[in-house]
Structures are given as structure tokens and as C-alpha cells.
């Protein structure tokens, strides 16, 4: 019997099939490593720094090496085709009853390795730790810009996840002058729960998941990975810090390697269980904020940053678009069982 499950944070319902669950082998294998395409010389590889648009915004480099030259571990450059523009003032105006804001923002690419490796699961842990440092550096810097409200960090791995033709590990950071609706829904839901219970909803979810154990994928070094109760997609997995924190950018330096280890572990499990599937990773963290009377009063206590990993195995079609519902043919309990048992 299919079941409607409600996501407690934003109140969204999901239809989960609890019988005839689709096993990993039931999905038509679409391995990213099998995507056939002619690859031009990769502009992200070490030695080709002149192939990316200058300037080099940030890099973790060996001492003595110059920007836009080899000798780096992680490198941040502007996007080749940026969605938003960095220069200018934020102008809000109306067109009749409609609201418009001019396209101010930042669009950066974080290149996560100097070698031509595509899947983050295949990177050495230290590379992932360095990438996390780069994310935090860039998000903190962009947060100082009073025009910007939020920076979304995301990764598209594989064509089905919307990645372009460059098969070299990277993530993108798009900073914007408005808060995105998906985040807004979580912020509102979190604040309402906190007003009612005086507890962080994510902390309660973590406790519930640890108590039941059925959906835990990994619990390592202060980070927990689980398949959410109302998972939208088969094998959707979230990673959260067990210790409450609203801001990803406040992650202490000594905890970054722990996060890197957890992330590598989860991505490796997904790679093995689903034969190298395409996936997206997104980071939800508290928006940039200046303390303002009446605004963001409880956010440090009510919101909890988290990573959402979404393997792209199924399509979102008419029913999903029309209803905002998702139909998930793999119960998260089954997904967690497969993932936790894979070495």
C-alpha cells in the first residue's frame, strides 16, 4: 500500500511505495562513467589555468606559487557563463503588479582537484577537506556584501544531474540578492516549530532518526547521514552535524576533515550501490543576516545547516510539477539498509 508521508520541516507530502520496493538493480543503470562524449582538453586541469576566466578568486596553493598557474590544491574562478552580474546596485521595482529585481549576484566555480577526476567520491579525503575550506572562504567573503542575501552551494555530477560537458570535479556557488523559496520554506517551518516547541526541528529529527536507526546510513565523527522519512527521491540522503549549528560557514577548521570523511563515505556508498549514478548535492544554511529589529531573532537556535544528496534516478514529470508532490518508489528504510550494508 502506498503511503503519504509528511516532511515535518516544510509540511510537504510525499507518496512512498511501501511494497514492491525498487531495488538498486531495478533502476536502469546509467553510469556516469559510461557517458560517451568527446572530451576537449579540460580547462579545469592543472597546467591549463589560462583556460578559465580570470581572475582567480581564491586558491589553496603551495607556497610560492602564483595565481593562475600550477601548484594548487583547490581553485575558485568566475563562471564562464554567469547567470548573475557582480557589478551594480540592487534595484527593486514593480512592473504593474509584478516585482522585478535586477540580476545582481555572483556565480563562481570551485574546482576541487588539480587532477582530471570527476566524482568527488574518488577524491582523497584531504582534497575534500580543502574544498570545504574553499566553500567556507567564499561564502564568508560573499556574506560581507550587503547587496547579497544567500549563497547557494551546489554540485551537478553527470548529465542527468544537469552537469555540463566538463568531467572534472567541481561545485558552483551562486550568490543572490533574494532568498530562494526552498530555503524560505525551511526557514519558516523551522521558526514555527521553534516557536511551538522551543527546540530545533532538525535536532529533533536527528534524535528521532538515531532512536529508530532504520534510516541511518552513517554516523561518524559528529556527522550523521540518513535517508529522510519523507524522501522525495530514491536514495535521497542528508548529512547533518550532530551538534546544532545554523551556519555552515562557522564549521571549525578541525571539524572539516570529519565532514569530508562522512561525505566521501556516503558518496562512495552511493557509487557502489547504484553503479556510479548522476547526483546533485545542495547545501542549505542560514542566510546572510544583519541583526535587524524583529528579523532573524531565533534563527541561530531554530535553523540547522544540512547537505542534501540527490541521486538522479527518476524523472520529475507532470504529476510532480503540478502538485509539488513527489512519488518515491523506494522507501527510505530500504535505501538506508542497502547503503549501510555496502562497504
Amino acid at each position: 500500500m502506498p503511503e503519504f508521508r509528511k516532511d515535518p520541516i516544510i509540511g510537504r507530502w510525499v507518496i512512498v511505495a511501501t511494497e514492491r520496493a525498487r531495488r538498486p538493480s531495478d533502476f536502469v543503470p546509467h553510469s556516469v562513467s559510461e557517458e560517451k562524449m568527446a572530451e576537449p582538453p579540460c580547462p579545469f586541469c592543472e597546467g591549463r589555468e589560462d583556460q578559465t576566466p580570470p581572475p582567480e578568486i581564491f586558491a589553496i596553493r603551495n607556497p610560492g606559487t602564483k595565481p593562475c598557474s600550477p601548484g594548487w590544491k583547490v581553485r575558485v574562478v568566475p563562471s564562464v557563463s554567469p547567470v548573475l552580474k557582480v557589478e551594480g546596485k540592487v534595484e527593486r521595482h514593480g512592473k504593474g503588479m509584478y516585482d522585478v529585481v535586477n540580476g545582481i549576484g555572483a556565480h563562481e566555480i570551485i574546482i576541487e582537484t588539480p587532477q582530471h577526476i570527476y566524482n568527488m567520491a574518488d577524491l582523497p579525503e584531504q582534497q575534500i577537506t580543502d574544498s570545504i575550506t574553499a566553500y567556507i572562504e567564499r561564502m564568508t567573503d560573499l556574506g560581507r556584501d550587503p547587496r547579497l542575501k544567500y549563497a547557494l552551494l551546489f554540485k551537478n555530477y553527470g548529465l542527468a544531474a544537469g552537469s555540463g560537458k566538463i568531467r572534472h570535479a567541481h561545485s558552483q556557488l551562486i550568490a543572490m540578492p533574494v532568498n530562494p523559496i526552498r530555503l524560505k520554506d525551511e526557514l519558516v517551518g523551522s521558526r514555527q516549530y521553534f516557536e511551538y516547541k522551543e527546540r530545533c526541528i532538525f535536532c529533533d529529527v536527528i534524535k528521532q532518526e538515531m532512536d529508530t536507526g532504520k534510516r541511518i546510513v552513517a554516523d561518524v565523527d559528529g556527522f550523521v547521514a540518513f535517508t529522510p522519512f519523507a524522501s522525495r527521491f530514491p536514495f535521497e540522503t542528508w548529512i547533518l552535524p550532530k551538534k546544532h549549528s545554523a551556519d555552515f560557514a562557522h564549521l571549525p577548521v578541525d571539524k572539516r576533515a570529519d565532514l569530508a570523511r562522512t561525505l566521501k563515505l556516503v558518496l562512495t556508498k552511493l557509487k557502489k550501490a547504484l553503479v556510479d549514478p548522476a547526483y546533485n548535492i545542495i547545501l542549505h544554511t542560514a542566510p546572510f543576516r544583519v541583526p535587524k529589529a524583529g528579523y532573524w531573532r531565533t534563527i541561530d537556535d531554530d535553523f540547522h545547516w544540512h547537505l542534501e544528496i540527490m541521486p538522479r534516478l527518476t524523472r520529475v514529470a507532470g504529476f510532480e510539477w503540478g502538485s509539488g508532490f513527489y512519488i518515491n518508489p523506494t522507501p527510505p528504510e530500504d535505501a538506508a539498509k542497502y547503503l549501510s550494508e555496502i562497504e
Binding site: 500500500m1 509584478y98 516585482d99 533574494v178
Partner: protein, 89 residues
């Protein structure tokens, strides 16, 4: 240059590209692969679908036979079930 436009109904922002726009010819189209075989929705193949729920038919033709203009059948792989009571568990 892009513009952020807000949907007044849901409050959702969308980034609309105003300069480097993509025209119909810029989008890659999936080529449809024509496959052979029998179509279960065509007239004459009514026995290949689950029994019909409703049909707009010419007078005299029986359910699950040809002679219909529009036909409603249950989905073979239903997302939801008709039987049972609603339980919030």
C-alpha cells in the same frame, strides 16, 4: 544580464535571462525513436488495457470494444489505491 522576477502567487523568484536569450533553435531536442510493436491505446486493442472506467462511445458499442471517441482506464502501475479508509497513522 538577468532579471529576477517574482511569481506574485507563490512568492517564488525566477532568474530570467534578458540578454543572451535562448531561442527555439538553441534548445537541443530529443529525437524520437520510432519503435515497432502494438499500441495498447489504439482501437482494436482494448483487451490489452485494464477494464475501462468510462468511455464516450457511439450508441450501441459495448465497453472494452472499438467504437469509442475517448476512453478512461485505471493506470496499470497506480501511485495510489482506491480501496481502503483514510488513516493518519
Amino acid at each position: 544580464m538577468a532579471e529576477l522576477r517574482r511569481d506574485p502567487i507563490t512568492g517564488r523568484w525566477v532568474i530570467i535571462e534578458v540578454d543572451k536569450v535562448k531561442n527555439p533553435s538553441d534548445y537541443e531536442v530529443e529525437t524520437h525513436v520510432k519503435r515497432g510493436g502494438v499500441c495498447p491505446f489504439c482501437p482494436g486493442n482494448e483487451s490489452m488495457t485494464p477494464p475501462e472506467i468510462f468511455a464516450v462511445r457511439e450508441g450501441g458499442s459495448k465497453p472494452n470494444t472499438p467504437g469509442w471517441q475517448v476512453r478512461v482506464i485505471p493506470n496499470k502501475f497506480p501511485a495510489l489505491r482506491v480501496e481502503g479508509n483514510i488513516d493518519r497513522i
